[in-house]
């Protein structure tokens, strides 16, 4: 059904359409509407779920762990301080191999208090074993939330999935959204192989010696590796059934591009306008939007032989932009020319704390790119 929705409501609608059984969530700006909408859907009977109004984010993920451990479909949503407050549970839910789905409204961390968009919150969780998607439109928020359940619950994955949407810039904007009236069997019923079974009592998360611990951690990496095929299948089947196509990453005018802008979330959408402007000037620009941060896609072929400008709405202090460093690591060969000389990505740090970044600004980043350089947009030293 074609309708209008905010990013937050898109997520809540997908949670309803997925027939989620337990939702435990704590409200935080700018995610609040997801929680309110879900509470309303449960109250009205539109969603036959248990909504647990927990007293904190540490407990929201705790409650999700408890619910998912019984084998039911489980969801929560958070943002920023809420996400880092539940950090312990983020790691534990992944290590417990629980297919929990969570939406995170990307927001800056204090102090000082700032509720604007920033990716440092979710990117600081990148080593936890959670799959992470970054979406850029309301429709994509809805579609990806649905896919997330299928991917997380797949027996070859059994890892939680985080859907990231930029605070305010996506959570609060209204766009057209086409909801799916009948999902058919796109989302099969949950079938968690290690769900608690009183007829087969086991100890979960007991004291574990290093040899076994090591195997369990290796198995998370195996699940992460296998998730690529599961994601691709979930996206291909989604396209076949519902007509909307998604990839591990999205390319805009990249084929003949001499310079590719790489970004995640709404900044990448803004970059498409910048690419159009640059092309009118004769600069063949394209955009590669990171959709899945974990598992991280192989971008070597996509970026080979091109100038690359990476925009990070995040930062790892003492290292650099998180995206640019991931790209340097995972697509290193793309940046070494035939002559053996390196043409490294130009790193732009922009949009922290909801800083306004226009397509004109992005076009400037491209025009002024320097191999291997780093620019903090708007900061003069």
């Amino acid at each position: 059904m074609l309708t209008f929705s905010t990013g937050n409501k898109a997520v809540a609608t997908a949670v309803k359409d997925a027939k989620t059984v337990v939702v435990a969530a704590y409200p935080i700006t700018p995610q609040t509407e997801v929680v309110e909408e879900t509470a309303n859907n449960v109250a009205s009977g539109a969603l036959k779920a248990r909504y647990i109004p927990v007293e904190s984010e540490h407990s929201s993920m705790g409650a999700c762990i408890g619910a998912a451990a019984t084998g039911v479909r489980t969801f929560t949503a958070t943002s920023s301080h809420g996400l880092v407050y539940m950090c312990e549970q983020i790691h534990m839910s992944a290590a417990a191999r629980l297919p929990i789905v969570m939406a995170n409204a990307n927001r800056a961390l204090g102090p000082g208090w700032n509720i604007g968009a920033e990716h440092t919150d979710s990117m600081s969780m990148r080593d936890s074993g959670w799959l992470q998607a970054y979406v850029s439109t309301v429709q994509e928020a809805y579609d990806t939330t649905l896919m997330a359940f299928r991917i997380a619950e797949n027996e070859n994955v059994l890892l939680p999935v985080m859907i990231n949407l930029d605070g305010f810039l996506l959570t609060h904007i209204t766009q057209p959204m086409d909801t799916i009236d009948d999902l058919g069997d796109y989302l099969p019923p949950t079938n968690t192989p290690h769900a608690i079974d009183i007829n087969n009592p086991g100890g979960y998360g007991t004291l574990t010696p290093p040899t076994e611990h090591f195997k369990f951690r290796h198995d998370i990496q195996r699940g992460m590796k296998d998730s690529v095929a599961v994601i691709e299948d979930a996206q291909a089947d989604f396209a076949k059934r519902f007509g909307r196509t998604y990839g591990m990453y999205e390319e805009y005018l990249c084929d003949d591009a001499e310079v590719v802008i790489v970004a995640a979330g709404t900044l990448a959408k803004e970059s498409e306008v910048a690419a159009d402007i640059l092309r009118k000037e004769g600069i063949k620009a394209g955009v590669l939007r990171i959709r899945w941060l974990r598992p991280f896609p192989d971008l070597t072929a996509a970026l080979k032989g091109k100038d690359v400008v990476v925009i990070d709405r995040d930062y790892s202090f003492g290292l650099g932009g998180i995206l640019v460093n991931e790209i340097r690591t995972k697509a290193l060969e793309a940046f070494i020319g035939k002559d053996g000389k390196a043409n490294l990505p130009f790193s732009v740090i922009a949009g922290l704390g909801g800083q306004e970044v226009t397509y004109d600004d992005i076009a400037d980043f491209v025009r002024n790119r320097k191999s291997g350089g780093e620019l903090w947009f708007g900061v003069t030293e």
């Binding site: 248990r50 540490h58 409650a63 619910a67 007991t206």
Partner: protein
């Protein structure tokens, strides 16, 4: 007297210390709860007692969770079971540190939300699993590895905090009176909603007493009035077991203190405060019981 089932859910292969109260408590709790039960366990002595992967000494599912989150995990588990029509008992089995300190927020939230679960705090009055550091439940005068001169502050009144949440059922118990404990667990699990039982759990290595004296210590705690046995069903107070006699005439608190090493350096002031605190608690309970009896008579 209650018929205690022969079926054991705690097998004879635990990693508990000799004379451990916690494993005794767990044995009776699981006997009362039966097979259709999941235990939710935060970091505490029971993390160790249950055994090392791939083995387990517990014959019901045990879900080990983050230190602060037993009651939160139980919330999700209980709601999920109820959502699919299962009556499975969800029991948190947590130490005092995981309850009165790091876990109190989650406990408060779960009680306030009316979660259908039973929370059992086995209270050995310190972080015993990590080698006896002070907790909010450590009594005045007790020596721990982080209160080398004895603790200066009162034991946190967990029961008053829980009572303020109006749980459908709450009780205290002691490992030295396992049948009383068994009956209270049975009763608690027969009532839907949030239930809480606070069990004193004397700890031989932590409290510094010989392991064969565990039961004796528990009995001294109750007969001296240092630990009071009672239950509240929807607020209605009943003093239970040996505390009925102890509240009329208690044995000297010194007998309880001298039977263990942790109070060896307690000052006369510490002992006076312990006595005063115990007297005050007994008086408050007696007063409340009388007031309720008078109210019932009027009605």
């Amino acid at each position: 007297m209650a018929e205690i089932p022969d079926e054991e859910f705690i097998l004879k292969t635990t990693s508990a210390c000799a004379g451990c109260s916690a494993s005794l408590i767990l044995r009776y709790v699981t006997k009362a709860a039966g097979k259709d039960t999941v235990l939710v366990i935060p970091a505490c002595c029971t993390s160790v007692i249950q055994g090392v992967y791939p083995n387990t000494a517990v014959n019901v599912p045990v879900y080990n969770v983050a230190f602060a989150s037993a009651a939160a995990v139980a919330s999700g588990m209980s709601e999920a079971f109820r959502a699919v029509g299962k009556k499975t008992n969800v029991i948190c089995f947590a130490g005092d540190g995981g309850t009165v300190d790091i876990g109190i927020q989650a406990l408060s939230g779960a009680l306030e939300r009316g979660t259908d679960f039973l929370y059992i705090c086995y209270d050995n009055e310190a972080y015993s699993n990590t080698g006896m550091q002070r907790s909010g439940a450590t009594p005045i005068g007790a020596k721990t590895t982080t209160t080398p001169l004895g603790k200066n502050e009162y034991k946190k009144d967990l029961d008053a905090i829980v009572e303020a949440h109006n749980p459908v059922y709450m009780a205290t118990a002691c490992s030295a009176y396992p049948i009383d404990l068994y009956n209270k667990v049975k009763k608690a699990l027969s009532i839907p909603g949030p239930k809480f039982i606070h069990v004193l759990s004397p700890c031989p290595p932590g409290w510094r007493f010989p392991s064969e004296k565990t039961i004796e210590l528990g009995k001294l705690a109750v007969t001296s009035g240092m630990w009071l046995l009672y239950e509240r069903e929807n607020g209605k107070l009943t003093i239970t077991g040996a505390s009925k006699a102890a509240m009329k005439k208690s044995t000297p608190i010194e007998d309880y203190l001298k039977a263990q090493g942790r109070f060896r350096t307690a000052t006369p002031e510490d002992i006076a405060m312990l006595k005063e605190n115990s007297k005050r608690k007994m008086a408050r309970l007696a007063h409340e019981a009388e007031a309720q009896a008078a109210e019932a008579e009027e009605a």
